[in-house]
């Protein structure tokens, strides 16, 4: 615990407590902590604590060549690394005036959606575990592993794929790859009734999530909430559709919304989104074989690559919400500034502090997981 957290609580009344919720807590993601003040079992105040994760990515990136940073960015969000790679690459491409070949764009979308499915499966598991249901966690992680297998085959790495590179992607698809993607999609689709049965229609979970961590659409907008959390308050906004990048405008998919704005609504949005991702991937698997051509635009020697003076703000829809990179070049061979705007920066600090205030202590973990916050995005 941090020194500030060692400060003795100043003579609380006997029914008031201060509780350190994390970082060593199964209900907390990553090295993150909440310091909550309790009145009985009711949270009266909460402070988010950035945790011990700080690796100074933004500073590190300023000391590395444009291309070297591709090995760094996926580490900012471990469960959903592809949006990080793509968003950074999009920024470099915009600054350098690179046209990403169409095939590479399709391959990127394929990865982005696979990564989204993997991330959602992971989150379902964690979310269920906060209510004491551990089977969905085992399932979620085991099924996510099948997607990691696909990533391993594609990129050589299961978690840190480092597969996207400014200009496109680093390798073409292995022989027969789309068939295996298709098989995995079939399998995951066949599992959905199991998840419904186990989790989404399970009254233990439904009732623990319903009415918990409610935010109105007005609040959500006020707090800068994005992604599934925002859509769970009834606003149908999705960067993929409304600020399109890559070839998302050539794909058919819905933007699912829920109205209730509670933990359950957020879970339902993710459940529906996973199906949309499967739908997108079916289209990619069908179309990708027809799209020939290079997988990467020609790029200069990475050791001698100056990007023109300029700045760019690129956004993608990650599984957590709006992910953006603000990249500034001073004309040199390294970024002058990279600012990572992770969706969780909002969700895990201000929003979480608001939502847990007034909640009961047993719902804190549920609220946190329902927001699907990824602490490394805060503490990047």
């Amino acid at each position: 615990m941090r020194p500030e957290n060692y400060q003795a609580v100043s003579h609380p009344p006997s029914h008031e407590y201060e509780v350190f919720f994390g970082p060593n807590h199964p209900g907390i993601e990553g090295n993150y902590a909440l310091k909550v003040r309790l009145h009985g079992d009711e949270v009266t105040a909460a402070r988010a604590d950035g945790g011990y994760l700080h690796r100074g990515f933004e500073k590190l990136m300023e000391g590395r060549l444009w291309i070297q940073n591709i090995a760094l960015v996926p580490r900012i969000c471990v469960p959903d690394p592809v949006p990080m790679e793509v968003c950074y690459s999009l920024a470099i491409e915009a600054l350098g005036g690179l046209e990403v070949p169409e095939r590479a764009q399709w391959i990127r979308v394929m990865q982005l959606e696979l990564s989204r499915i993997a991330a959602h499966l992971f989150t379902f598991g964690g979310n269920a575990a906060t209510t004491g249901m551990y089977t969905p966690m085992f399932w979620g992680i085991a099924d996510r592993d099948l997607i990691l297998d696909l990533f391993e085959e594609l990129s050589g790495g299961r978690v840190y794929h480092i597969y996207n590179i400014p200009g496109g992607v680093r390798r073409d698809l292995p022989e027969g790859y789309l068939k295996r993607v298709s098989d995995t999609l079939d399998y995951i689709e066949s599992r959905l009734p199991d998840y419904d049965n186990l989790m989404f229609t399970n009254q233990v979970f439904v009732r623990r999530a319903t009415g918990v961590g409610i935010m109105t659409q007005e609040q959500a907008l006020d707090w800068g909430v994005t992604g599934p959390n925002l859509r769970a308050t009834g606003l149908p906004f999705d960067v993929r559709r409304d600020d399109p990048y890559l070839i998302y405008d050539q794909l058919e998919f819905d933007v699912p919304v829920e109205e209730a704005g509670d933990a359950w609504a957020r879970t339902l949005v993710r459940r529906a989104e996973l199906k949309q991702s499967l739908r997108i991937l079916r289209q990619v698997v069908a179309r990708l074989p027809e799209i020939d051509g290079p997988i990467r635009a020609p790029i200069p020697n990475p050791l001698a690559w100056n990007l023109p003076l300029g700045d760019v703000y690129t956004r993608v829809e990650s599984s957590k919400g709006e992910l953006a990179y603000y990249v500034v070049s001073n004309g040199g061979d390294k970024p002058w500034r990279v600012h990572v705007r992770g969706p969780s920066a909002m969700h895990a600090v201000q929003v979480l502090e608001h939502l847990v205030t007034g909640a009961r202590i047993e719902d804190v973990a549920q609220i946190m997981f329902s927001l699907d916050a990824c602490p490394p995005e805060v503490d990047r």
């Binding site: 941090r2 907008l221 953006a324 603000y326 002058w336 600012h339 705007r341």
Partner: protein, 198 residues
């Protein structure tokens, strides 16, 4: 982006027209959905109020800070998004690096609290009126704000931490023959071509 992605003619006209109400702006469409606005620091609140009140710019996507020590300035970029127009407005202002003080826009945008606190912690800027300028990530850090350009993170790491010393057998054998490590990676770091040859 393909032309079909671009916002409609009326959207761009609306925005261009609206922004005429604020003096001292320079606007530039840098991409179909990206409008860059450069403006004097004191005008920013007026711009944001206008955007939020009249064009649906309710979403503050981020505040980015860029250090320009050679200019003696910090650049602050306010990225705002309208769910109605689907256009990102990036408002760029510059403030003197010293004393590095600016106004908080927390009253207008709640998310500003996080970004301002983060910028304060990393760059040392002070935002007047921001709800919490307390430490968040760097609770045990006593050094200068690390994102400032004058702070050399790598040099600090080199000073602070040692390199792992390895003595594998193969190296001992090669050294016995008169060979050995000819160029360590740290020799390349910060080596700005004074002797580019290996």
């Amino acid at each position: 982006m393909t032309p079909t992605d671009a916002p409609g003619h009326d959207v761009t006209t609306t925005l261009d027209f609206l922004l005429q109400e604020v003096d001292g702006l320079r606007t530039r469409w840098v991409a179909p959905r990206r409008l860059r606005v450069d403006l004097p620091a004191e005008t920013l609140p007026a711009l944001l109020e206008l955007l939020k009140g009249r064009a649906g710019y309710v979403h503050l996507s981020a505040i980015s800070c860029v250090d320009w020590p050679d200019d003696g300035q910090f650049e602050l970029v306010y990225h705002t998004w309208s769910y109605e127009l689907n256009v990102l407005v990036m408002a760029h202002i510059r403030i003197p690096r010293d004393p590095g003080v600016y106004l908080s826009i927390y009253d207008l945008y709640r998310p500003a609290a996080f970004f301002e606190r983060d910028i304060h912690e990393m760059f040392g800027l002070w935002f007047e009126g921001s709800p919490d300028m307390g430490k968040f990530i760097l609770t045990e850090w006593e050094g200068p704000p690390p994102m400032r350009k004058e702070f050399d993170g790598e040099a600090w790491v080199m000073e602070q931490f040692g390199w792992q010393e390895y003595r594998p057998e193969w190296l001992t054998e090669i050294e016995a023959k008169g060979g050995g490590i000819s160029k360590r990676p740290e020799q390349l770091r910060g080596d700005k071509g004074e002797d580019g040859t290996a």
